[in-house]
Amino acid sequence: MSTIASPAAHPIAAAAHPLRQPIAQLYKVTRRYGKVTALDGFSLELYPGEVVALLGPNGAGKTTAVRLLLGLLSPHAGQVRVLGGDPREDLTRTRMGAMLQVSRVPEMLRVREHIDLFRSYYSHPLPAAEIVRMAQLEGLENRLFGKLSGGQKQRVLFGLALCGNPDLVFLDEPTVGMDIESRRALWDRIRALSASGKAVLLTTHYLEEADMLASRIVVIRDGKDVAHGTPAQIKHQTGGRRIRCITRLDADWISTLPGVVTVAQDREALLIHTEAPEPVLRELFAADASLHGLEITSAGLEDAFLSITQSHAPNSQEVLQ
């Protein structure tokens, strides 16, 4: 039976996932801490060569998802598969690398020694010189970890994640404490990783970072996937534009116009968030000839993120109203 059924099943599965098999997968995973449900039937798939950004407010379940994929936690329900195995097994972990938020790293070891130690955990590590180059640590090899700047420390942690030449890389808030220049440099390294076919799962609270790097964004709130898609799709979901203008008109009246989502005071001007700007503008011009300082921008990822996460929080909306 099964030998007849399986050849027929395969082409369908392949057609559904033209990007090959997922390299990592959470399938309907539920994980609780005591009475708090951190993840609630959450599913996530990662494919080779893509950068997926996991976005969500604090306590949404981002870290729990990463810890499950790293094998640091066990799910209460559902399945975790990474590289065709269970991440709680050492052998599975030889093909992944992680950059986690570490508040303190042993400070009395030199950069080169930290790399040497992490290389010893893998049977086929990258050469140390290669790791130094990829994490841009040239010239810092003999520096004690405690003597590095915040950005340099993050780069060492990035380097440690690459020691085993992983196919799957987890980056938890990778650019915290970095200046703009080194942040952009790290973004280039992350893009290079995915260009070489590695899958990257990124959690970040810098929306710009997700926008710049991610091929796919998953927005998570209260342990559930509330939106996913490319950055453009996520932005499109809330659609709309932002109108900023200085006007004598009453904000309450503007909010009654068709298509207006929100109206807010921004210093001397009004900020009007709308699905379609043209009809709103016609009304505004007709009612106020003195309207000036007009700016129209498309809603950024930040607006999209706020509107997605807020629309799923009935409590906070009630408070606002």
Binding site: M108, S120, L144, D167, G197
Partner: protein, 263 residues
């Protein structure tokens, strides 16, 4: 991106003995180097027993007490290295996320603790060697080669029970409080176990209480090498230390698995 970083098809080869040996050696090496460079640790853990011996051992030079103190300060040094090295060390690395990062790598889990234990034992070797050098050179201590080897052996054996206690402390105590709590255990226990002065000079109730303490049995084993132990068979002391180790590891295991399901 160049060829070295491109995804290479690798068979999931089972990890061999060589891999585990190398991982353990590297882990131990860097644990020891890191501890040694941490002056607050290395100076106090080596410095205190050696300084105490320089004061009290040399003061009582050319008496049996000089030899007595070589044995007991060796034990005192080993206990300190384990409690501070493992108790404080693991507590910090666990709370600060460093242990998580290591656990997310394929690092063999056991090598983390074994490396810490071996590193503590290395500190104890340094302490015993310095104490013997001081004793032989300045305090008129005369001991045989067999006694020297015996002292090294017994001292190193103490790494196991007191590392177990260190692990339990690391799981129970937050890193900021760990040094203070450890001093509250370490110093009174050492005193009450006769590691600073012979038990016969102490009040009776303390002499009766001492056998409850693991450091007492440890000290008795070391003193037994030189014939200064309380009367009784050495086997009971080994048994007491083995029981203590099992209790500590059992409690640590219970707490660890409870925190795993909750965390």
């Amino acid at each position: 991106m160049n060829a070295a970083t491109a995804t290479i098809a690798r068979p999931p080869a089972p990890l061999g003995f060589g891999y585990y040996l190398r991982a353990l050696l590297q882990e131990t090496r860097y644990e020891f180097i890191g501890r040694m460079r941490l002056r607050a640790f290395s100076l106090s853990v080596i410095g205190f027993p050696v300084m105490f011996y320089a004061l009290f051992g040399l003061m009582n030079g050319h008496t049996p007490y000089a030899t007595y103190l070589v044995a007991t300060y060796s034990c005192f040094g080993m206990i300190g290295a384990c409690l501070f090295g493992i108790g404080v060390g693991v507590s910090h690395e666990r709370m600060q996320g460093w242990l998580d990062l290591k656990m997310a790598s394929p690092m063999p889990r056991w090598s983390y603790l074994v490396a810490k234990l071996v590193s503590c034992a290395a500190f104890a070797l340094i302490i015993v060697t310095l104490l013997l050098a001081l004793g032989l050179a300045f305090a008129g201590v005369h001991i045989t080669v067999m006694q020297t080897l015996g002292l090294y052996g017994v001292t190193l054996a103490g790494a196991i029970p007191f590392s177990a206690l260190g692990i339990l402390i690391a799981l129970l105590v937050p890193p900021n409080a760990a040094p203070a709590i450890i001093n509250l255990i370490y110093l009174p226990m050492s005193f009450a176990s006769g590691l600073w002065m012979p038990l016969k000079y102490m009040p009776h109730w303390l002499q009766n209480f001492a056998p409850v303490l693991p450091a007492y049995h440890y000290g008795q084993l070391a003193l037994g090498i030189f014939g200064y132990a309380q009367p009784g068979p050495a086997a009971t002391h080994w048994e007491a230390l083995a029981t203590f180790t099992c209790l500590m590891l059992g409690a640590a295991w219970w707490i660890f698995s409870r925190s795993e399901t909750r965390a």
